[in-house]
């Protein structure tokens, strides 16, 4: 309902200075606001989406999906489908049982005794969520395939749906996986690296103030512009397969397809063509990828599958879905003592690639930027008859950040303290870095003071607080609320050793290759596979600076296991921090060799040769010099190289980070709430992000804006709703409300720059920051606006109706919704019984 369509600062900058949008004084590429290399192709429709791929003899696959959340499959009869003209084949789960593999992979067994039931690409005897595949049809065109699905006869025997996590854990609940004997997937217990929580609180005696809250992270539906699509092209005679997939992870997919189907890894080539967004939901190994592969193999013909949006909402992983019981303890003077976190995490019906690991990533983030002596985290994974959950932008970290930032506000309220002052009292001071956190991580750098000071200055905090007081005093129907989020996150997944200690099935390195061509142009391949971010632009900038070549002379190749064979792909804001650093290191190897060749050709001592802005010269005799392009040509000709040297200027580097990186920032949000209708409007949004060194501010701005939109969407708009029978009632974009530009405020963005010390570029990652930080900033503002009505929480999304009921509902109604406390006060000691909300 807002009409704020401000195109933002970046657009103004672009209009004012086409070409070089913001030019660093030193003429470097690092920090230069360049338009993205990727955009001309996107804007002129020359993009190579998977669904655009067409091959001779291409067949089209469609998947018949369960209309029931939970049922026994008594029979599947595809014979009538085979009669439909144009249908080539139709298979039930049983028909493919011997080729489709015993289970789709889950790479993250978070505990040794985790329950990991088989997850076949098509259900064989039981369906466990609405959308679970039961059969496939392959036809000459997708229209025929869709028609033929209706001809398949399936007999189901309905079983009870399991929708609610707490119900699922009760004795006697229907079981999602009968053979597992329980709906409890795992119990992960992490006592932190500090003191014992209970003992710490007990030792503080009467001085301890404890606040408990239950927060609900609603289920979200990732909504990339491009839904999933797969094409598999077999070369039958060679038993060789090319798999095109709209995936974030071609390299991981290749390994997993081989392990799942038994087709040897070297016989599979995976290509992620242009991919239109993923947000984590394309960080997976999906049934349809396996099915296309095995069906193409069976038929010896290329097969394509493309999902529709409604199919995507049923069959592509969902995000979030946690119930968080949070307890924070502080001394009366506000000094934090400790934090206790008990999570229920909804796995959905099956474990996808990293389903169980998502809430576990959060385990390291709950203490955020605050010093405290004790921390205890437990998480119970729960099976339900719903679409599986998995990574969604931020993956575990938004949930954790929300909980800590919300409860810091609640604690401040309880103590009668200003929420920002309480944060300042407890956060790690700039001079205390590097800092060993109670959750076991070592934060390398940070400057919370600087980011906060800048944000406060941009926000006019004092002015807004004054206006808030006035509106409260005159009981204005429009109330103002102010919300803070001083967040941090861990990016750059991840040091392989750390992943190993967390039982993750793979490493966290990234690979890069550089090839200098005879004409001095540079080819770069990277294992970090983009799906919309702008990697090619950023990598070109890094290489241009390092090798002293023009930005335009760098060509980047990604997303094909033939041409960029090694990689760990893109997720967890890792591409720049791991992949970008790998490229930087690879350029170092090229330079080292080029220098030896230059010294040889210049007949100088290697130690006397210097490299600056693309040219090698001999110390003291500046006329003796040659460009790196000249060195490249001389290397190609190979007429006069040092003895025994290979005639190439190529390098290969695999970089394994030593630590995560820790972007942080301060986000401030002011909302106006129409207390008559409950409608929330964001009046002002200021964020100051510290993401270390910046390669390209335009890309950064884009990532921040998109991230903010997604985080605000969780706070105010988006929610996947299931009915009691396990049907997704928000199954289309009519009911699942994704906000667009008119619904969002003008974002006032700022930055501080505290370089990471754990990598040579000083970069930290920006892919998820906006999403992680913004949800609690908005919700803290909503709750702040409603404090005069006794409200202390509102379930997300804070829809107008929820807000209206939080204000006007009866006390019983409000207590049931968790918006107010029973009896008002919420302070208690840990010994007191857990409040029900």
């Amino acid at each position: 309902m807002t009409e704020q369509m401000d195109a933002g600062l970046v657009a103004e900058q672009i209009a004012a200075t086409p070409g070089a949008l913001s030019e660093p004084a030193d003429g470097q590429e690092m920090g230069r606001g360049r338009r993205r290399k990727e955009d001309p192709k996107l804007l002129t429709g020359q993009t190579n989406w998977t669904d655009n791929i067409t091959l001779p003899g291409l067949l089209h696959m469609a998947v018949l999906r369960s209309p029931m959340a939970h049922a026994k499959v008594l029979s599947v009869d595809v014979s009538a489908a085979l009669e439909v003209p144009g249908v080539i084949a139709a298979y039930s789960g049983a028909d493919l049982a011997d080729v489709m593999g015993a289970t789709l992979p889950c790479a993250w067994p978070v505990t040794p005794d985790m329950v990991s039931p088989p997850h076949t690409p098509l259900a064989v005897d039981t369906v466990r969520y609405v959308g679970d595949g039961v059969a496939v049809v392959v036809a000459r065109d997708r229209y025929t395939a869709a028609d033929a699905l209706e001809a398949i006869a399936v007999e189901y025997e309905q079983l009870p749906a399991v929708v609610d996590m707490e119900e699922a854990l009760k004795e006697g609940s229907p079981l999602v996986h009968e053979s597992a004997g329980t709906n409890r997937t795992f119990l992960f217990d992490f006592p932190g690296a500090g003191a014992d929580y209970a003992e710490t609180v007990a030792a503080a005696g009467d001085d301890a103030v404890v606040v408990k809250r239950r927060f609900v992270q609603q289920r979200l539906l990732p909504t990339p512009m491009e839904p999933r699509a797969v094409v598999v092209a077999p070369i039958a005679a060679a038993d060789d397969y090319t798999v095109y997939s709209a995936t974030q992870i071609p390299h991981i997919l290749r390994v997993m397809l081989a392990l799942t189907t038994g087709i040897p890894e070297h016989k599979i080539r995976v290509i992620a063509p242009d991919v239109g967004g993923g947000f984590g939901c394309k960080l997976n190994v999906y049934a349809e990828e396996v099915l296309c592969l095995v069906v193409a193999k069976k038929l010896g013909r290329p097969v394509k599958w493309t999902e529709s949006r409604s199919e995507h909402y049923q069959a592509t992983v969902h995000g979030r879905d946690q119930v968080q019981d949070i307890e924070i303890a502080a001394r009366k003077d506000g000094t934090l003592l400790g934090l206790k976190v008990e999570l229920l995490a909804d796995m959905g019906a099956y474990l996808q690639l990293v389903t169980p690991g998502v809430p576990i990533l959060g385990a390291f983030m709950f203490p955020a930027i605050y010093k405290m002596a004790a921390y205890h985290f437990t998480c119970t994974g729960v099976f339900t008859t719903k679409t599986p959950t998995d990574a969604y932008r931020g993956a575990g970290r938004p949930e954790a950040t929300f909980a800590i930032e919300r409860i810091m506000d609640e604690l401040a309220h309880e103590l009668g303290r200003d929420p920002m002052e309480l944060r300042k009292q407890n956060w790690i001071r700039h001079e205390e870095f590097p800092y060993d956190m109670v959750a076991g991580l070592t934060y390398d750098s940070g400057n919370y003071e600087a980011a906060t000071a800048k944000a406060e200055e941009m926000f006019d905090l004092d002015g807004l607080r004054r206006e808030q007081a006035e509106r409260r005093a005159r009981k204005d129907p429009v109330q103002l609320g102010i919300g803070i989020s001083t967040f941090t996150e861990m990016c750059g997944l991840a040091p392989s050793r750390v992943l190993g200690s967390l039982s993750y099935g793979a490493g966290g390195w990234e690979a890069a290759q550089i090839r200098m061509l005879p004409t001095g142009k540079v080819e770069v391949t990277s294992g970090a596979t983009p799906h919309g971010q702008g990697h090619h632009t950023a990598w070109s900038q890094i290489v241009a600076d390092a090798l002293g070549v023009p930005f335009e002379d760098v060509e980047v190749t990604t997303g094909d296991t033939d041409s960029s064979p090694k990689g760990m792909d893109t997720y967890g804001s890792r591409s720049l921090v791991v992949g970008g650093v790998a490229i930087h290191k690879a350029t170092g190897k090229v330079l080292e060799k080029a220098k030896r060749i230059a010294a040889h050709l210049l007949e100088a001592n290697e130690a006397d040769v210097e490299f600056d802005k693309g040219a090698f010269s001999v110390k003291g005799s500046p006329e003796a010099s040659m460009t790196i392009q000249e060195v490249a040509l001389a290397t190609f000709a190979a007429h006069n190289l040092p003895d025994g040297m290979e005639p190439t200027l190529d390098s290969d580097y695999v970089y394994d980070p030593e630590n995560f990186s820790y972007p942080h920032g301060t986000h401030l949000c002011a909302v106006e709430i129409d207390t008559e209708t409950g409608f929330t409007t964001i009046r002002k949004y200021v964020c100051v992000d510290d993401i270390g060194k910046i390669v390209n501010p335009v890309i950064v701005e884009g990532q921040v804006h998109g991230g903010l939109a997604q985080g605000i969407a969780q706070a105010l708009y988006e929610e996947a709703v299931y009915d009691d029978d396990g049907n997704l009632t928000t199954g289309t974009l009519v009911d699942y409300l994704v906000p667009a530009a008119p619904d969002l405020p003008h974002f006032e963005t700022g930055r501080t720059e505290t370089p990471a010390t754990s990598n040579p570029l000083g970069v930290k990652g920006v892919g998820e920051a906006g999403t992680i930080a913004s949800t609690p900033a908005v919700m803290n503002a909503v709750v702040d606006a409603l404090r005069p009505f006794g409200v202390r929480d509102v379930r997300m999304p804070a829809t107008p109706e929820r807000v209206w009921r939080a204000i006007h509902g009866s006390d019983a109604e409000r207590a049931a919704a968790g918006t107010i406390a029973y009896g008002g006060a919420s302070t208690s000691t840990t010994a007191a019984t857990q409040e029900q909300m």
Binding site: R142, T677, V738, P739, P800
Partner: protein
Amino acid sequence: MIPAEFDYLAPDTVADAVAALAADEDAKVLAGGQSLIPVLRLRLSYPTQLVDLRKVQELRGVRDDGDALVIGAMTRHSDVVADPLVQQHAALVAAATATVADPAVRHRGTFGGALAHADPAGDLAAVALALDAELVAEGPGGRRSIAAADFFQDYLQTALSPDELLVEVRIPKLEGTWSVHYEKFNRVAQAWAIVGVATAVRREGGSIAEARVGLTNMGSTPVRATAVEAALRGVPAEAGAIAEAAQHAAEGTTPPDDLGGKADYRQHLARVLTRRAVATAAGV
């Protein structure tokens, strides 16, 4: 998703379209396709024949017909909004149409299609009702005119028979000095109304002489808030009097109880939004 197979015809005249409908009882009219195509894609309907009206020129455009304005059924939303005659004589239609969805939908969707679809959450039906519009249908038996009050019969159901076309809509010009306002409440700009209120108010001096109030999404059809209209007649054009009259807005309504809002919330919204709509229209 992909619709089931159908035949497709794009006649040039109303007569040919009517004949095509008469020839196949499972035929359906295709106007802008903004409601029909989603229905087909989800396979909620299986017509054998689509009769596309896009080439029928006589169904397009707005004309002045003395005491009424006539809007052709195939006039696109974007053309309705921009039309000077509509802005002058049926400003409420323009105001409500401007809130429909987004520019892309407004460039495809049609005035007639929106009314024939009869979604109670659609913004235009309440307007047609409030303005006492006459909907003109043509079938094998010729033309007939249906009052808006009789046209909307139930959720997605109208007085049109399957072989009839909606050809045009006559909107009586409002006599005297009227001002209008459409108040739409939705969660995101592109979404359907949770509740909408269409109002036209005629002021005489310091009081409200006459008011029209139509409600969007407050039942299985658009609703005329007659109790509010009666309560507003002759009251001073002041906030207090308008607020009192608006208290009647939800009387007799049976709004949906769904994801978009529970019924009691919608009734509350109807009262608040009616008050705001009337106050805005009355310049209070």
